[in-house]
Amino acid sequence: MRTPVTQLYRRLYLIRRVEETIAAVYPTDKVKSPIHLSLGQEAVAVGVCSALRPKDVVFGSYRGHATYLAKGGNLKAMMAELYGKATGCTKGRGGSMHLADTGAGVMTTSAIVGSTIANAAGYAFGLRYRGSDAVVVSFFGDGATEEGVFSETLNWAALKRLPILFVCENNSYAIHTHVSRRQATPRLVERVRTYGIEASRIEDGDVLRIAAEADKSVHELRKGSGPRFLECATYRLREHVGPGEDWDLGYRSPEEALPWIQNDQLRRLGDMLEPRERADLETAADAEIVAALAYAEESPFPPASDLLDDVFA
């Protein structure tokens, strides 16, 4: 199955504009939550999630806006969540770093790097145990691959041949520290293969290749292949946390970003569409964002009397 360019472009465009909108609103202090924008990294979540069915599920990281939206998480509820409103996807409990929309298959995202990798594998076991043919995608960054839980989970998932696709969104930085200062070698997929897991790396952020590779992997997973691993190089265009750029910090250079800007998948796919179709699609997405922002603005805050709700089931 080849995912239509239109469908990919719609998601890419929506996420890019949502992130830009959040960045624009941020100085008003209405977004009551730290934000780790997906700007520049959209193609990974969009490409991978295009291979999924509604009942498949994803687990992600604190940089989870793209994960959430690519899987079909409710945009209004996400915006309201960033505003700390009662109508937010987690009712003002989770904020940007803990987005969840279980109805859409967005299970959880975590501020503790790597911790959802194990949750995702357990969920995959649960799905198979219950006789489902749904699959799990675990999204994480390059920093997470340095956590012990990453290696532990690769081992267990391979041992149990679980229906899980591991996706490393490798943007080369853990906050401000480059991967070359953190990892003895960059040969991640080689390391993963030693667990008996088929692994591949996509170097250039090509959303069509990511979609095709994910589609192939998910197809294998549904046949019982055991886990698959996909490393996607990508690039974060904004600061680690917050709405702005951070070239002034000096830990990375604008030149480093240039190939990624020139290779922007949003522009590339946009140019592949008929201008009329593209304009209609963008107009619809813009309207959706305006409506979501208005929803967030107008929704009520949760009352203080709700403080102790949802501590226990």
């Binding site: 409990r93 969840a100 194990a118 949750n119 357990g122 799905l127 532990e152 267990w156 226990f312 089931a313």
Partner: protein, 350 residues
């Protein structure tokens, strides 16, 4: 027909697992060695043969991953019981327990409850040493979103474990190695013992004695000696430490005016501090209270027998402190209660 017979605590735990797995095929037992020949001191004996390897699952030595995986299974609708042969290994699972299991329900705005039970065995005797003897229940009592239970009797062990498995929240279930051999009457059928009411094991008007886990039988032995000295104690077992039956304990303290908590743990920031503080907050403005605590010495647990014996609170140290609290003076030098059989007769290596 419900029949009653005596079971050891280990048999009671095994029976709870067996019955819950029979009742609900979403219940799994997960942990290193759950299907091995020693079967977690016998507590999982026969379960693998009966329910198969998917439901009685041996694991790699990966506490972080396996705790996270059990959480994921729970999110997917299963009800895993994750077994650790020693509490001390939970330190490798703290991120998943404290940052994920305890907070998932809250962070998801109610979308993601985590019906997980963590069975953790407290070691003691035969030189178990600093890393095989900790209890650490108070660490988990500190965290909202977790429930904590430490039963002392076979009946409560069976009932609390079955309850914990059916609870939709993460429950840390502490069992003490020395209590595993204790026997009591346990019904053959379903027993559910949730939080709410602490057990009153003995009544008296002079002092309230609260024991936690293995300190419960030691409190009962101390109370027996104290009775011989004319001092009568209420002896309470909270069973559930979180949520804690503060009111039940305070009913007794309001009567006696004296509260001594014996914990199978360190005192600093511990369950004993919590229980004493709760009594003082509720009763301190209306009644004069005398409070005391006994527990582990403030050192890691040593292995040499004389040092190990000095490290633990026991019936003698409980009785001595209780006597002092009631009479204002220490008992005679000759107070040295007999070492109980479960310690005297314990043989290793495990």
């Amino acid at each position: 027909m419900i029949q009653e017979r005596s079971l050891t605590q280990i048999e009671a735990i095994r029976e709870a697992l067996d019955q819950e797995m029979e009742r609900d095929d979403r219940v799994l037992v997960v942990g290193l060695g759950v299907d091995d020949p020693k079967a977690i001191l016998g507590s999982t004996r026969g379960l693998a043969e009966r329910f198969g390897p998917d439901r009685v699952m041996d694991t790699p030595l990966s506490e972080d991953c396996m705790t996270g995986a059990c959480i994921g299974m729970a999110m997917a609708g299963l009800r895993p019981v994750h077994v650790h042969i020693r509490v001390d290994f939970l330190m490798l699972a703290m991120n998943q327990i404290v940052n994920v299991a305890a907070k998932s329900m809250h962070m998801s705005g109610g979308q993601q409850p985590v019906p997980l039970v963590v069975r953790a065995i407290i070691g003691r005797s035969w030189g178990q040493g600093a890393q095989h003897s900790q209890a650490l229940h108070s660490m988990f009592m500190h965290v909202p979103g977790l429930k904590v239970v430490a039963p002392s009797t076979p009946l409560d062990a069976k009932g609390a474990l079955a309850y914990a498995i059916r609870d939709d929240n993460p429950v840390i279930f502490f069992e003490h190695r020395l209590l595993h051999g204790f026997k009591s009457v346990v019904p053959t059928g379903e027993v559910l013992r949730g939080p709410g009411r602490c057990r009153v094991l003995r009544t008296g008007s002079d002092l309230t004695l609260v024991g936690i886990s293995y300190m419960v039988p030691e409190c009962l032995r101390a109370a027996e000696w104290l009775a011989g000295m004319g001092i009568e104690c209420d002896v309470l077992d909270p069973v559930w430490l979180s949520p804690l039956d503060v009111e039940g304990i305070n009913v007794s303290v309001a009567k006696t005016g004296r509260l001594l908590v014996a914990d199978n743990a360190w005192l600093e920031c511990g369950a004993s501090a919590e229980i004493v503080a709760a009594a003082c907050e509720a009763l301190g403005s209306t009644r004069r209270l005398t409070v005391g605590r006994v527990g582990f010495a403030a050192t890691p647990c040593p292995t040499s027998p004389p040092l190990e014996a000095a490290f633990y609170a026991n019936a003698t140290s409980i009785a001595r402190e209780a006597f002092r609290m009631v009479t204002g003076a220490p008992p005679g030098q000759d107070l040295d209660l007999e070492m109980p059989p479960e310690i005297r007769e314990f043989r290793g290596p495990f």
